[in-house]
């Protein structure tokens, strides 16, 4: 039986999902909605799907088995609520929202409905992340250092606080998610940020945090969008006798044997989509970041961003 999927949003990340979904047997991308009709049409044509200007029309017209919500951070809320009311399994892109309240409310609705959900923390599907976790099983991390030093993406909402929630919430959230998987929950800490006179939009263009984990490990997370290109994006872990540097593409392992580079074998977008589709079909249980779990990462990212803006303590 064909699994029919709808997408809300036709931006960059929606395109990645359309490509991944198209490679899965028995999946049809039935419809794509985007308020920019031209964009919806281009992506719909690529997927052989129907294009919609409004997501409500997509939900009313198409018979769907699941919905992908790939909207900008500020646009979360209504569409998820509508999907929950229809009992539609949801794949939601990160960040869950620009703020915490929207996501908390949605998590409660989703739980009440007992809905299947997945969130696009795709680093969780990296085989290299699994290798890192195996290596750390014998020697837990004492320190984790995350860095997202990049340029500002050139979409209009990104550099506005009310559009994206800021870089910590929109991008560095992946680093917090990886840290939670590999080191566990954060207990608290400190954060600070700054904004340069010529920086883009109104967001903090640098932010850095010093965090304490429940395991006793400590770490720092830094992000900046002031650079001309992606400069350094990844998570470094330090354990007794072991150093790890995980990026979206590879893992560098340094131990008593020296240094070795392990390239990823898995396309994490494809893997997360396969896992979600299998769960929708009742054929698999490998959704690694359901909404409630992703909410914990979002909560951490929002707490760090707030502490950085208000000059102080990270409170969870």
């Amino acid at each position: 039986m064909t699994t029919r999927i709808g997408l809300v949003g036709a931006g960059f990340i929606a395109g990645r999902h359309v490509d991944a979904l198209s490679s899965i047997d028995g999946v049809t991308v039935a419809g794509i909605a985007d308020p920019r009709a031209d964009r919806a049409e281009v992506l719909a044509a690529r997927a052989g799907a129907a294009a919609y200007a409004h997501w409500a029309d997509l939900l009313d017209v198409e018979r769907l088995d699941a919905l992908y919500v790939c909207v900008p951070p500020h646009a979360h809320g209504e569409v998820e609520t509508a999907a929950v009311e229809r009992g539609l399994p949801l794949f939601v892109e990160k960040p869950l929202a620009t703020d915490l309240a929207t996501a908390e409310a949605l998590a409660d609705r989703i739980d009440a409905a007992g809905l299947l959900t997945a969130v696009g923390y795709h680093w969780r599907y990296l085989d290299t992340l699994e290798l890192a976790r195996d290596l750390l099983a014998g020697a837990p991390a004492r320190m984790v250092l995350g860095a997202w030093l990049d340029r500002a993406p050139r979409v209009d909402w990104w550099a506005r606080q009310d559009g994206s929630g800021g870089q910590t919430v929109e991008q560095a959230t992946h680093l917090f998610d990886v840290a939670r998987v590999l080191v566990g929950e954060v207990e608290g800490g400190w954060a600070t940020g700054s904004r340069s006179p010529d920086g883009p939009g109104d967001i903090l263009d640098v932010c850095t945090a010093a965090l304490r984990f429940e395991s006793g490990a400590v770490g720092s997370f830094s992000n900046s969008c002031l650079l001309p290109r992606a400069h350094r994006i990844g998570v470094e872990l330090v354990a007794p006798g072991l150093g790890l540097w995980l990026t979206e593409h590879r893992l560098v392992v340094t131990d008593a044997d020296g240094e070795r580079v392990v390239d990823r074998d898995v396309d994490p977008f494809e893997a997360e989509d396969r896992a979600f589709v299998a769960a929708v079909r009742g054929e698999g249980h490998d959704v690694r970041a359901p909404y409630r779990e992703a909410l914990r990462t979002h909560r951490l990212a929002v707490a760090v961003a707030q502490a950085a803006a208000d000059g102080g303590t990270v409170q969870l």
Partner: protein, 322 residues
């Protein structure tokens, strides 16, 4: 030509680097060395044609010197500087200035009152690569500083005792705090977290969060649980430019500059210890205007490292100067 007569107190790793550098200068005579372990003092004395002494105070009391190098463990600072001050003897002192702040503050006040010529071994400041980084950042405002000293635990028995060494943040990472001050300016506030270690009371890992007077922010992390030196460096981010200085060994540094044109890496095998020693000697000879890191300047970096350590121990932010 009369040669400058110098003594060296301590014969450990860094003392060996200074002895080698000093022995290489034609206008310097190493006349005496001291170490609490007599065999080590005698071995170094024999190698450099100097007189051995069982302790630094004895050396300072009996030798006729133009300058002395104080290369002792952190806990041994205080009496030696006082003895040099009592004789009006210029001294070069290795970092850290002490395991705590109080000792160094007392010495700094006396150095200032005496107007004595001093230098502190923050050797990164003497690297051509660091001067290049300074030039690149001169007319820009640094926004973000990230630093890491990820290393093994040094073997010296005193190192893993916080009261003796000051801990990793004060003993090693102080170089990164010094470089951060040089390249991003003074720090206003520091908050920090640390993770205890099963052996010794020096934390296994620690991270300090810095707010600079300029408004820049940063974090500088330390860990001592690796098998060998893993990553030691400081990165600075400003609009359109990232500059990173790393140290693999005392004479093995790298500068990485990333901007709109791409990334460029420059290596250096310069010996910064020889450069800092030469500068101090030239000031004593009246051939150079001043040292880059006199005691008062070294004290500011030491104070920052001590503040980072205190903020972690006390679990609350520390304002510099408090």
């Amino acid at each position: 030509m009369s040669r400058l007569r110098v003594g060296v107190v301590g014969t450990g790793f860094i003392a060996g680097r200074h002895l080698a550098a000093l022995a290489g200068f034609d206008d310097v005579e190493v006349v005496a060395v001291a170490d609490a372990v007599p065999a080590r003092a005698e071995e170094a004395a024999a190698r450099y044609g100097a007189r051995p002494h069982p302790d630094g105070t004895a050396l300072l009391e009996t030798e006729e010197l133009d300058a002395v190098w104080l290369c002792v463990p952190p806990f041994a600072h205080g009496p030696l500087e006082a003895a040099a001050l009592a004789r009006g003897l210029p001294f070069f002192v290795e970092k850290p200035l002490g395991p705590d702040l109080a000792t160094a503050e007392t010495i700094a006040a006396e150095v200032a009152a005496a107007g004595l010529t001093t230098a502190v071994g923050y050797h990164w400041r003497h690297l051509g690569l660091v001067h290049r980084a300074q030039e690149l950042l001169r007319d820009r405002s640094v926004q973000l500083v990230t630093g890491a000293w990820l290393d093994r635990t040094p073997g010296a028995p005193w190192w893993s005792r916080r009261a003796a060494s000051g801990g990793q943040v004060v003993e090693q990472t102080t170089h990164l705090f010094d470089l951060a001050r040089l390249l991003a300016g003074e720090v206003d506030t520091v908050a920090a977290v640390e993770r205890a270690a099963p052996e010794g009371d020096v934390p296994a890992a620690a991270t300090a969060l810095l707010t600079f007077t300029s408004g820049a922010v940063g974090s500088i992390s330390s860990a001592r649980v690796l098998g060998r030196r893993h990553h030691v460096g400081l990165e600075l981010v400003t609009e359109g430019l990232a500059v990173e200085v790393t140290e693999r060994g005392l004479s093995d540094h790298e500068l990485r500059v990333s901007d709109a044109d791409g990334a460029e890496t420059t290596g250096s095998d310069e010996d910064p210890v020889a450069v800092e020693d030469r500068e101090f000697l030239d000031v004593l000879l009246g051939q150079a205007p001043g040292v880059r890191v006199p005691y008062a300047e070294g004290l500011r970096s030491h104070a920052l490292a001590c503040a980072a350590d205190r903020a972690a121990r006390e679990g609350r932010p520390v304002r510099l100067g408090d």
